[in-house]
C-alpha cells in the first residue's frame, strides 16, 4: 500500500520507510475513494443477476472494496444501471440519481442500459440511460459476464484516479442542478423538450391537414 501511494521523488529515510510515506493530497483522496466505492442496491433486469453474481463468492467484488451495497441512494457512490430502462421506470431512476450525493458515478451495465439493447425498438423502452443521466463507464454485453463488470469497475477506478481536487465539480461554489425528472404523458416527456414537443405536434397537425 505504501508503495502504491508514495512519491518516489521525495526521499524518505530508510528507518522510517515502514511507517512514513509522502504522497499528494490528490493521490490519497482518490485512493481512498476508489477503494471504497459503495454501489446502490439497484437491479433493473437480467443484468442485475450477473451483478449479484459479481458480488457473490466466486467473483467477489469485495476484493475492490465495493461489497457494501447500500439500499438508499443517499449513501451510495455508484449507480450500476443493470438492465433495461423503461419509460415507466425512468422517472424513478432519475430521481434516485438526483438523490445521490456527489461525488457520484454511473455505470451503464449491458446493452440495454447503454443503448436499448435487444429491446430498443420497444414502445416502452428508453434507448439508453445516458439520454437522462451522465454515464461514466459503459459495459457491453447481454448480459456482461461478471468479469466484464469487474473490468468496468476497474475502469471506473482509473477514472477516479485521474480526477483532481483542484477541479472536481463538487467542491465548486456553484450548485449542481438536478436532472429534470421526466413526466409520463401520452408518451414519455422530457421537461427539457417541452417547447420542441409542442412545436412538432403542431407541425404534425398542420401536415395532416395539408
Amino acid at each position: 500500500m505504501i508503495d502504491e501511494l508514495s512519491n518516489p521523488d521525495i526521499p524518505v529515510p530508510d528507518e522510517l520507510k515502514a511507517s512514513v510515506t509522502i504522497t499528494t493530497l490528490d493521490k490519497i483522496y482518490n485512493w481512498s475513494r476508489r477503494s471504497s466505492i459503495w454501489p446502490m442496491v439497484f437491479g433493473l433486469a437480467c443484468c442485475a443477476i450477473e451483478m449479484i453474481c459479481t458480488a457473490a463468492s466466486r467473483f467477489d467484488i469485495s476484493r475492490f472494496g465495493m461489497e457494501v451495497f447500500r439500499a438508499t441512494p443517499r449513501q451510495s457512490d455508484l449507480m450500476i444501471v443493470s438492465g433495461t430502462v423503461t419509460k415507466k421506470m425512468v422517472p424513478q431512476i432519475v430521481r434516485l440519481y438526483n438523490q445521490m450525493p456527489e461525488p457520484r458515478y454511473v455505470i451503464a451495465m449491458g446493452a440495454c442500459a447503454s443503448g436499448g439493447g435487444p429491446f430498443k425498438e420497444g414502445y416502452n423502452v428508453v434507448a439508453g440511460i445516458d439520454k437522462y443521466v451522465p454515464v461514466d463507464v459503459y459495459v457491453p454485453g447481454c448480459p456482461p459476464t461478471p468479469q466484464a463488470l469487474l473490468h468496468g469497475l476497474i475502469k471506473l477506478q482509473e477514472k477516479i484516479d485521474s480526477q483532481s481536487l483542484r477541479d472536481v465539480r463538487w467542491y465548486k461554489s456553484e450548485t449542481n442542478e438536478p436532472v429534470p425528472v421526466p413526466v409520463l404523458g401520452p408518451d414519455l416527456m422530457d421537461p427539457r423538450q417541452y417547447q420542441l414537443i409542442k412545436q412538432r405536434a403542431l407541425q404534425a397537425a398542420a401536415q395532416a391537414e395539408a
Binding site: 457473490a56 425498438e121 416502452n124 422530457d190
Partner: protein, 589 residues
C-alpha cells in the same frame, strides 16, 4: 403433429350441441376449440368449469384480426386432474370491443384481462378493477393492435430491408424528430398536461377513517408504497399497501416497470428470432423458456425431435430448475433478514451449472440453446480440463445432492426460519386453483399438479420421479416443495446422464434461419421452475408469428398476492412475495 408435444385435445363433442345458440366449433384451418358468443360466455364458461370439470383457467389472451374487424379473446382451460385442455374464444367488434369478464368464475383471469384491456382496449364487463396494468394510465393507444405503430417503427416484419448486406443501417434516433423513442398525438401541448397522480389506485384502497383494529390501541391507517426501487421486491415491482398499525389491510400490486414489449417485438420477429428473446423472460430459467417456445412451434410444424436432443433438453431444463430453486431459497432467506450468507451458499453450485451451460451453449445465462426440432449444439468434449461427461456425472451424482442436503441441514429446522414461515401466507387449495396459481405455489397447497405428469411432454414419461406436494400452503411448505423438487430434478438428471444415447442427431432436418410455419394456433406449455409457462402462437403460414403470447407463471401467480397478504404484518409481505418467487422479466415481459 409431434408425438411428444403437449396437446390441446379435440373438444368434448357435445359443447356445441349443448349450447346450440351461442357455441360453434372453430373450423378455421389449424385452429381448434370453440367460438362462443359474447352473450353466452358466462353461461358456457360456467358449464365448462362446473359440468365439464375444467377448473383451471390457465391462459387468457387477445388476438387482433383487423381483416375481419375483430379482436378475439382466447381462453385455455384445463383440469387439475390432468389431461388435455379446452380452448374457447370470444370475438368482439374491433371498434368497440366488450366482453363479459370471467373474474367471477375464474379469479385468476383478473390480471390477464387487465392486460388485454391495456394492450387491445377490450373492455371486460363486470371486471372489478379494469385499469391499465403494464403501461401507465394516460398512455396513448393500444400497443398490440396490429395498426398501432411504435415510434421507432421501421417495417412490419423482420428481417428489415435496411439490415441486409448493403442496406443503409442507421440509428433509429436519427430518423426520429425527437431523437428518442417517443411520439405524441397531433396538436398535443405538454404544458397543458396534468401528470397522472394515480388517483385510481389510491381511490380503490382509500383507508376508511377511524380506529382500525378495534382494540384499545389507537392506530391510524396508512398507505405505504413498497417499490419499485426496493431491495425486497426482487426487481422493479411495486406494492401499494394499506396498513393498520403494522397489519396489512389491503395490498395492490403495481407492475410494468420492466415491460419490454416482448410481444410486440415478437410479432415483428421471425419465428426463430424470438428464441433469444424467450431467454430474457424468466432470466433465471432461460433453458426452460426455450423449451416451451420450441414445443409450441414444433407442434405447428409437426417435427419430431431426435432422441439425443430430447435427453439434452431434459437435462438442461432440470439443471435450470435446480438453479432457479436454489436462487429462490437463497433470496427467500435474504427476505427473512438473513442477509447474503445463505444466498451465497445457495448460488455456489449454480456457478458450476452455469459453466456447463456456457461451455455447451455459449452463454452463462442467455443460452438460446434450443431450436425447432432439436438443440443448437452438442455437448463439448471437455469442460475446462475435464471430460464433460465425467464433469456431469460428478455434478449430478455427488455435488448437487450434497449442496441440497447442506441447505436442508442448515435451514429446514432453523427455529427462526420455522417461526417466520409456518402459518404465514396460507393459500388453501381451492383458492390456489381458482386464482390459477402454478408451480411450487400450487403444489405447496396440496394440489398434485405438475405438467410433467399431468400433461406429459418431451420424454418425461420415461423418467421415474415424484410430484412433490405439501399440505399446508404456507411459506414454509413452499420452501419445502422447492427442496423436494430439487431432489427430484437431480434424480431425473441422473437418469438422463445414465441413459442418454451417445452420438446421433441433435437437430431434425438441416438448420434453418427462416422457418415457414403452417397456419394455425398452438398453445405449448411446460412446467417451468416458477409454474406453468405457456406460449400461445398463431401463424398465418408465413415466417413471422401473427400472435406471440407468453403466459407467464410469475405474472399470473401475482394475482393472489393481495389476497394472501391481507391480515399479515408488513414484514411478512416481503417473505410471502419471496416465497411466490417472481422474476420481473416474466411478470412484465
Amino acid at each position: 403433429m409431434s408425438a411428444t408435444a403437449p396437446t390441446v385435445a379435440a373438444v368434448p363433442a357435445n359443447l356445441a350441441e349443448h349450447f346450440p345458440a351461442g357455441v360453434v366449433a372453430d373450423t378455421r384451418k389449424g385452429y381448434e376449440g370453440y367460438v362462443v358468443g359474447a352473450a353466452q360466455l358466462l353461461q358456457v364458461a360456467g358449464a365448462i368449469r362446473d359440468k365439464l370439470g375444467y377448473n383451471y383457467l390457465s391462459s387468457v389472451t387477445g388476438v387482433d384480426y383487423p381483416e375481419s374487424n375483430q379482436i378475439e379473446v382466447v381462453y385455455h382451460a384445463f383440469k387439475t386432474s390432468g389431461g388435455p385442455g379446452l380452448n374457447f374464444k370470444v370475438q368482439a367488434d374491433r371498434n368497440d370491443p366488450v366482453v363479459p369478464s370471467l373474474v367471477g368464475l375464474y379469479p385468476g383471469a383478473e390480471f390477464q384481462e387487465r392486460e388485454i384491456f391495456d394492450m387491445y382496449g377490450v373492455r371486460f364487463d363486470g371486471h372489478p378493477d379494469l385499469r391499465r396494468i403494464l403501461m401507465w394510465d394516460g398512455f396513448a393507444g393500444y400497443p398490440l393492435r396490429k395498426d398501432w405503430k411504435e415510434p421507432f417503427f421501421e417495417e412490419d416484419l423482420k428481417p428489415f430491408a435496411s439490415r441486409w448486406p448493403g442496406g443503409d443501417v442507421r440509428r433509429s434516433e436519427e430518423s426520429d424528430p425527437f431523437g428518442a423513442n417517443v411520439q405524441y398525438p397531433p396538436e398535443f401541448d405538454p404544458y397543458e398536461w396534468t401528470p397522472e397522480t394515480e388517483t385510481a389506485i389510491y381511490k380503490l384502497i382509500q383507508p376508511k377513517a377511524g380506529n382500525g383494529n378495534g382494540g384499545h390501541l389507537k392506530t391510524d391507517k396508512l398507505i405505504v408504497n413498497i417499490g419499485p426501487q426496493h431491495p425486497s421486491t426482487h426487481g422493479v415491482f411495486r406494492m401499494v399497501v394499506v396498513l393498520d398499525g403494522e397489519t396489512v389491510v389491503d395490498l395492490k400490486p403495481v407492475m410494468g416497470y420492466l415491460h419490454r414489449n416482448h410481444e410486440k417485438i415478437g410479432e415483428r420477429n421471425t419465428f426463430l428470432q424470438n428464441m433469444p428473446y424467450t431467454d430474457r423472460l424468466d432470466y433465471l430459467a432461460s433453458m426452460s423458456n426455450n423449451h416451451a417456445y420450441a414445443l409450441s412451434v414444433e407442434r405447428l410444424m409437426g417435427v419430431k425431435v431426435p432422441e439425443r436432443a430430447e435427453y439434452l433438453r431434459v437435462l438442461m431444463v432440470e439443471l435450470t430448475r435446480i438453479c432457479s430453486h436454489m436462487w429462490a431459497i437463497g433470496f427467500l432467506l435474504n427476505d427473512l433478514g438473513a442477509f447474503q450468507t445463505p444466498a451465497l451458499y445457495a448460488i455456489k453450485e449454480r456457478e458450476l451449472i452455469l459453466d456447463f451451460f456456457e461451455a455447451t451453449a455459449g452463454s452463462r445465462m442467455m443460452c438460446n440453446y434450443m431450436r425447432f426440432g432439436g438443440v443448437s449444439r452438442d455437448l463439448p468434449a471437455a469442460l475446462r480440463d475435464e471430460n464433460t461427461m465425467d464433469f456431469l456425472r460428478d455434478l449430478v451424482n455427488n455435488r448437487l445432492s450434497y449442496a441440497i442436503d447442506e441447505l436442508d441441514r442448515f435451514l429446514t429446522h432453523s427455529e427462526i426460519l420455522r417461526s417466520r414461515c409456518i402459518g404465514v401466507g396460507v393459500l388453501p387449495a381451492e383458492k390456489a386453483i381458482a386464482y390459477s396459481a402454478a408451480g411450487p405455489l400450487l403444489r405447496a397447497s396440496g394440489v398434485d399438479y405438475d405438467l410433467r405428469r399431468a400433461d406429459p411432454y418431451s420424454i418425461y414419461d420415461r423418467f421415474d420421479f415424484n410430484v412433490c406436494t405439501r399440505p399446508n400452503g404456507d411459506v414454509y411448505d413452499r420452501y419445502l416443495v422447492r427442496i423436494d423438487e430439487m431432489r427430484e430434478s437431480v434424480r431425473i438428471c441422473q437418469q438422463v446422464v445414465a441413459g442418454m444415447p451417445t452420438g446421433g442427431e441433435i437437430l431434425a432436418g438441416k438448420p434453418q434461419y427462416n422457418v415457414r410455419v403452417p397456419a394455425g394456433e398452438s398453445y405449448g406449455r411446460v412446467e417451468n421452475p416458477k409454474g406453468e409457462l405457456g406460449f400461445y402462437v398463431v401463424s398465418t403460414g408465413k415466417t413471422n408469428p401473427w400472435r406471440y403470447h407468453v403466459r407467464a407463471p410469475s405474472f399470473v401467480n401475482l394475482t393472489l398476492l393481495g389476497e394472501v397478504c391481507k391480515g399479515h404484518k408488513i414484514a411478512d409481505v416481503v417473505v410471502i412475495l419471496g416465497s411466490i418467487d417472481i422474476v420481473l422479466g416474466e411478470v412484465d415481459r
